[in-house]
Symmetry: C2
Subunit: 386 residues, 2 copies
């Protein structure tokens, strides 16, 4: 392995967001996805990479292909409203990818908040929708507070004291519109770390910090080769809830995961997997996820501009806080993602050559053109070595 690090072939190339957008459109179109579903799906996937969240953007296309091949993905979903009042709605994603119903949901929530100050939209029967922060951010761009969370039929997090994994990583996102500063945007799994961090350690053969993952006996696992299946496939052990240990208040991370489950799955009418598994241990439907979105318009609470000014003051105060290590300034949620966004919008999105090869495979199998430049002419040397 180490000898390959000496190769002169770059391991990543920068590709313009617009070109990635075109490539994904070509693939989804070849799969038969209608234009009105493709639009929000591709926009969200590419924007997620622009914001530096590589684990949840364009790199998901192989997983989506797998869903399609297994017959789990409805490529022509009928996304429709099931219940509605002027302030809330429940919509169904009809077993399609979650991006399009999630964009619809947060925009509906914002429309309602324009009228009444708040809008809540719940999405049932939906699939993976990328990073939930993308939808909270849409609200902030409309001058509103955005909140979102999502739960899936999966088993990653064993509650405090439990051997059995009872929740997916159940992420929470919250965004708020600033004035002169960039919008506040936070988005994270309610486990101590997300699956992506275990995967990266596994790819790089790096031991994990104790406390990220436990085995079925509740013991901390630091070997990433053992930790990875625990955090993805096994039904016992897994990713610790935020807090890590009972002493360090892992019951709080567990509570947040349960809150996300209640809002995303139970309120929306999606399926809480572990309850079904109690009745039928062979149950394996991983496709019935739910999402929850809220938008709040500050002007229904404050005079125009006051919320944004006060948020700017908070952000400025946090940036001005004295760092413990002068080399590591205090960050505000969103700072990292905005830095990636500015860089990548200007200089392109860095795509690992291995991923480029995988995308080419997806395009080829779909019968779609591969549009990502030189790579196709030089495939062996570019990703054959990785």
């Amino acid at each position: 392995m180490t000898s390959q690090k000496k190769t002169t072939v770059p391991r990543k190339i920068r590709i313009e967001a617009n070109l990635l957008d075109k490539q994904l459109r070509a693939i989804f179109s070849a799969w038969g996805m209608p234009e009105d579903i493709i639009g929000p799906t591709v926009y969200t996937m590419v924007e997620t990479d622009l914001r530096g969240i590589d684990s949840h953007g364009i790199g998901m296309i192989m997983r989506y292909e797998e869903y399609l091949q297994k017959g789990l993905l409805n490529i022509r979903p009928n996304i429709k409203t099931l219940k509605e009042t002027p302030a809330v709605a429940q919509i169904t994603g009809d077993a399609g990818l979650g991006h399009a119903p999630s964009v619809k949901a947060i925009e509906m929530a914002c429309d309602k908040a324009e009228q009444l100050g708040v809008g809540i939209v719940s999405v049932t029967h939906s699939m993976h929708h990328g990073a939930v922060g993308a939808y909270a951010l849409r609200a902030a761009r409309r001058g509103m507070i955005g909140f979102g969370c999502t739960a899936a039929w999966a088993h990653c997090i064993p509650p405090t004291r439990s051997k059995d994994a009872m929740f997916a990583t159940n992420p929470i996102a919250f965004a708020a519109p600033a004035g002169k500063n960039r919008h506040f945007v936070m988005d994270f799994a309610t486990s101590t770390v997300a699956v992506g961090k275990i995967s990266i350690a596994w790819f790089n053969d790096r031991p994990l910090p104790p406390g990220w993952v436990i085995d079925a006996e509740g013991q901390s696992v630091t070997d990433p080769a053992i930790a990875h299946p625990l955090s993805t496939r096994e039904r016992q052990g897994g990713l610790t809830p935020l807090g890590g240990t009972e002493d360090m208040s892992s019951h709080k991370g567990y509570g947040l995961a349960a809150m996300v489950e209640i809002l995303s799955t139970i309120l929306s009418g999606a399926v809480y997997g572990p309850a079904l598994i109690r009745r039928n241990p062979e149950a394996t439907n991983t496709m019935s996820g739910g999402h929850f979105f809220m938008a709040l318009k500050p002007e229904f609470f404050r005079e125009p501009g006051d919320f944004q000014n006060d948020l700017d003051e908070m952000i400025d105060a946090l940036h001005a806080a004295t760092p413990i290590d002068p080399q590591k300034p205090v960050l505000v949620h969103g700072d990292n993602e905005w830095a990636h966004f500015d860089d990548r919008k200007k200089n392109g999105i860095p795509v690992p050559l291995k991923l480029l090869g995988l995308i080419k495979g997806v395009a080829d199998r779909a019968g779609a053109d591969f549009l990502l430049g030189e790579v196709s002419e030089n495939s062996h040397s570019l990703w054959g070595a990785h």
Copy 2:
């Protein structure tokens, strides 16, 4: 000190909730608080002790007396609505205790949710309101999901990488109505632990687990005598955000504290202290807190009964999860509080004799009768030794 532990005098006595209610009413009444403010204030304080959250109930009366003596507490607040739509409202607590405006806020939120599916009420210019879970629980008792959070003008939590403490313990509460099970109720500080846990370790001279508190250099502090002022009075160091360390994702706890600040303080129009302190390092107004409350009525999303049934299934699945240690079953949020509630409603609330003495002092200074039984006749032997 150890010799005193051998005393045969019981250190706590059980007092009926109704009698504590009467005692608090007598004190507040003597202070000149109007009946319509006394009602929700006393109800909430006593219920909080019934639920076992001793740090936030009747034991707060000495702190409230301190506020009163310092002229910070408006004893006859004009709690009124400043802005309102059918779905949201902003109300002011008018610098009174936070219980009455918080009860009003969550009940208004529920009334709105009865009509539209959701209600959001924000409270500005308010003070301490006990444990925020009390208000989320009120929504669950009305068959609704309740969410609440609160922020105060205080400095306990240094963000990840920061020496400076920039947030109060900024708690979050969430409750959901179950069917056959007791309601799901969670309520916790967004720091790894609340101040109360540091106080208890300090009272008992017990070292803290590493990671609860850091000093101004970012080093973990385990000596409770050093940790206690750091978590309450100092502006540098303090309670770590949930997660504890950067490796264990303390940025998530920090993000939650910031979210609570934005919802409770900035949305409501209360004051974010550290921003003011940047302009005026001598600023010390600790009284301008804010709260945020939401109620959601499940029947606007699901068919009647479906939400409660599915939540029961989740709670049952969690209770049935295999424990790591068979002696320590997996708990669901609310279990401990419901056990206290059942016990204390039947057998009375255990009140430490020392606290009883302190309440007697407050009653005496207020010119209110002391109603808590024998204690007054035998004061020296009962609490003189502690």
